[in-house]
């Protein structure tokens, strides 16, 4: 115990003496949480569009006004020249061109098909999808209004008999479909994993590279004591950062904390051990910090991409979904969201927690085994 205490003191002294590291450990995560939470959103804002109104009728003007009044669309320019509008699209001046053909109003009032052309800049596919679905629903609304007017005016039985099925959406847990509520718990996980994976792994390689590991090797320190001395400081720092992040999430972002905070902390503790063991394993397999960093970063990217943070795991093809089963980050992100946002309890998450414990034990054992008290 005494030895571990000394080792811990040495590590903490080393960490806190490095003035460049301190802001990285304690300020950077907070800034990242703030920036990333606001940046990671697909919400649509202010789409600039060009209008080619060939009809110049009451309805066509109503249509343009309707687009503007939603707040999502902003009329950037009007023209009668199709090529001009396409040039604007090329130059990224507008991302949507709405073309209302001549005789639009006449077709509509006579019960014929009245097409409206939407030309969308689809370089960014997901934004284009949103633009499409927003404009479709605006046009649908307008159409419903006009059809109702027609229905009242005419007694044409064909118009009356059109069947409709209304869809009434209800969004649970996050009725406003607020992206921040969803992202913050996931980003917290990423920040904690970065500290766990990069710093603890790097630490041992650093001693190897500088050569100070020899000095530790010739002391009577046992393997496990050495490991604990290396892991514990960054475990504590990781937990501390998580607490700060959670406080920020609760009081800064007003994320609902439906579940039990203690559950989160216990899982976080286990998760950090898993990630740190992985970092340790990397460090036993590499000789320089550059190598270790590079491999760690690579693994981190795969973990994040396949963790369901940005794109839902449900969208991945089957084989990729299977890979995520071996991804500790995916489990922790899922647990965080379930506990914080839905108030899930032990019963719902226990299988995932056991999986994490299993991963942690295997990784820790392998990496302790691989670490040798000799060099060369």
């Amino acid at each position: 115990m005494r030895i571990i205490r000394f080792l811990l003191r040495k590590e903490f002294l080393q960490i806190f003496r490095n003035k460049a590291m301190l802001p990285i450990l304690f300020v950077m995560p907070v800034i990242q949480l703030l920036v990333l939470s606001f940046a990671a959103t697909y919400e649509l804002k202010e789409v600039d569009f060009a209008l080619l109104d060939m009809d110049q009728s009451r309805v066509s003007r109503e249509l343009a006004a309707k687009f503007q009044s939603t707040g999502y669309f902003n009329l950037q320019a009007e023209t009668f020249d199709r090529n001009k509008a396409m040039e604007w699209l090329d130059a990224r001046r507008v991302s949507l061109i709405i073309i209302v053909p001549p005789d639009f109003e006449e077709d509509l009032t006579n019960g014929r098909e009245a097409p409206v052309q939407l030309i969308i800049d689809a370089v960014d596919g997901s934004t284009a999808g949103l633009i499409q679905s927003y404009s479709a629903s605006i046009l649908n609304d307008l159409n419903a209004e006009k059809q109702l007017e027609l229905k009242i005016k005419s007694a044409d039985p064909a118009v009356v008999q059109v069947k409709t099925i209304n869809l009434i959406p209800q969004n649970w847990y996050n009725p406003d479909l607020d992206y921040i509520t969803f992202m913050v718990p996931g980003i917290l996980v990423v920040l904690v994993s970065m500290i766990g994976l990069f710093l603890s792994g790097m630490n041992i390689v650093r001693e190897q590279e500088i050569g100070t590991i020899e000095q530790l090797n010739v002391t009577p320190i046992r393997k496990y004591q050495f490991m604990v001395g290396k892991l514990l400081p960054f475990w504590i720092i990781g937990m501390f950062d998580l607490l700060v992040g959670l406080a920020l999430a609760r009081y800064g972002f007003h994320i609902p904390f439906l579940g039990n905070l203690a559950t989160i902390l216990v899982v976080a503790g286990i998760f950090l051990v898993v990630i740190q063991s992985l970092g340790l394993l990397i460090s036993t397999m590499t000789n320089t910090q550059q190598q270790a960093m590079f491999i760690a970063w690579f693994i981190m990217v795969v973990f994040i991409l396949l963790g369901g943070l940005f794109t839902p795991i449900e969208s991945m093809p089957g084989w990729a979904q299977n890979i995520t089963l071996a991804n500790p980050v995916a489990y922790f992100i899922k647990i965080m969201r379930m506990v914080l946002l839905k108030g899930a309890g032990w019963q719902e998450i226990q299988v995932m927690v056991y999986t994490l414990i299993g991963m942690g034990s295997v990784l820790l054992m392998v990496s302790i085994n691989r670490y040798k008290k000799t060099t060369g």
Partner: protein
């Protein structure tokens, strides 16, 4: 000049001797490309849903079958009442419950209107949105067929959508330029900054500084091998994009490589700048990670559109080189743009690069302490 050549040879040897890193360096673009191309999508594949059918008639069964038949959904449970919803959502696998109101078919026949309630687990708003719109597509198709069979005239406003530049809305078309930016940041900026600080940390910098090499010789020598690596990586990604994922390439290759060369210079300059400002590898790594890679991934428009961000972040995104590079490359690849259309972005990138080179030459110290 001779000593400079010797130094460059040493640098190349040092890097190419480290087989493990090389494997990662060359393997990474391939793996990332495959992950992005196949796994990172914004479409739905077999989302698990539940059905609460309070009517249990012919129409509701048909709609359920149609949902089941679509590749996007898997009907996992049939509920009996509302109270089960909460428990199912908490377990986390079911993403949506489709509720048919009682007397569905009757209402549809008699009153021509019937209601379906769609309850989504909106903890993931994006997914909830997708699931909802996929469901409404299925239902809309059904209604259309129904009306056509009844020979009712379909009239009214019909949106005709044309998607320019990327008609199938494939995410991989969008990701390729972003991926190039991320990999270049990683190889050029991160690796360079580490390799220079490494010399400092190991004490070799003293030796280099007292040698007849000029400071800019040292920097160029350090930077050159990573430049070669970067170019190879760009080519790898491009080849994969073209031949495996069939991403269109409308513009000129020469122009593309010129712009990529410019961005490689930007990244290298950034790497040198970071290394001149930090004393050990750990600091250099964390600064490159937090200051370069994360912003490159998140604030450049790589995954999330810049236009969706709040204004302050949009301002910040202006100082991120990758943002400009992304606009340029996307335009070249998907629209076939030439310098006329992207000269502004190119100019910004050029000014940034010159600025960083100037700054790091100024900060590079000829003696240690």
């Amino acid at each position: 000049m001779n000593s400079f050549r010797g130094f460059v040879t040493k640098e190349f040897k040092q890097i190419y001797r480290d087989k493990r890193t090389l494997v990662v360096l060359f393997g990474m673009p391939v793996i990332m490309m495959v992950l992005f191309g196949f796994a990172i999508r914004n479409e739905i594949d077999g989302a698990q849903i539940g059905i609460l059918d309070l009517s249990k008639d012919e129409v509701t069964r048909t709609i359920t079958q149609k949902l089941e038949a679509s590749k996007s959904f898997q009907v996992r449970v049939y509920l009996e009442n509302y109270d089960e919803v909460e428990g199912l959502f908490r377990q986390g696998d079911i993403k949506e419950i489709v509720v048919f109101e009682p007397g569905f078919q009757e209402k549809l026949v008699r009153k021509n209107v019937a209601n379906i309630q769609i309850i989504t687990d909106a903890t993931d708003p994006n997914l909830a949105n997708l699931v909802q719109s996929y469901t409404s597509n299925v239902v809309r198709d059904y209604v259309q067929i129904l009306n056509r069979e009844a020979q009712v005239q379909q009239a009214g406003i019909q949106p005709q959508v044309r998607m320019m530049y990327n008609p199938e809305l494939r995410s991989v078309n969008l990701f390729v330029p972003g991926l190039i930016a991320v990999i270049l940041m990683l190889v050029s900026a991160l690796m360079t900054s580490i390799s220079i600080t490494r010399e400092k940390e190991m004490g070799n910098m003293e030796i280099l500084l007292v040698s007849p090499l000029k400071p800019y010789h040292i920097i160029i020598g350090k930077v050159l091998p990573y430049m070669v690596l970067s170019v190879v990586n760009v080519i790898t990604i491009l080849v994969l994009a073209e031949f495996v994922f069939h991403v269109p390439f409308e513009g000129s290759y020469l122009f593309f490589f010129l712009e990529s060369g410019l961005f490689i210079m930007t990244a290298l300059a950034l790497g040198v700048f970071i290394s001149s400002a930090s004393n050990n590898q750990q600091t250099a790594m964390m600064v490159s990670l937090a200051g370069l890679l994360l912003p490159t991934v998140l604030l450049s428009g790589f995954i999330f559109p810049v236009a969706s961000m709040p204004l302050p972040l949009q301002w910040i995104s202006h100082i991120i080189p990758a943002k400009w590079f992304l606009i340029i490359v996307r335009d070249i690849m998907l629209k076939g743009s030439d310098l006329m259309l992207v000269w502004k972005e190119t100019l910004v990138l050029l000014v940034m690069t010159l600025g960083f080179i100037g700054l790091s030459l100024k900060k590079f110290k000829v003696r240690l302490q």
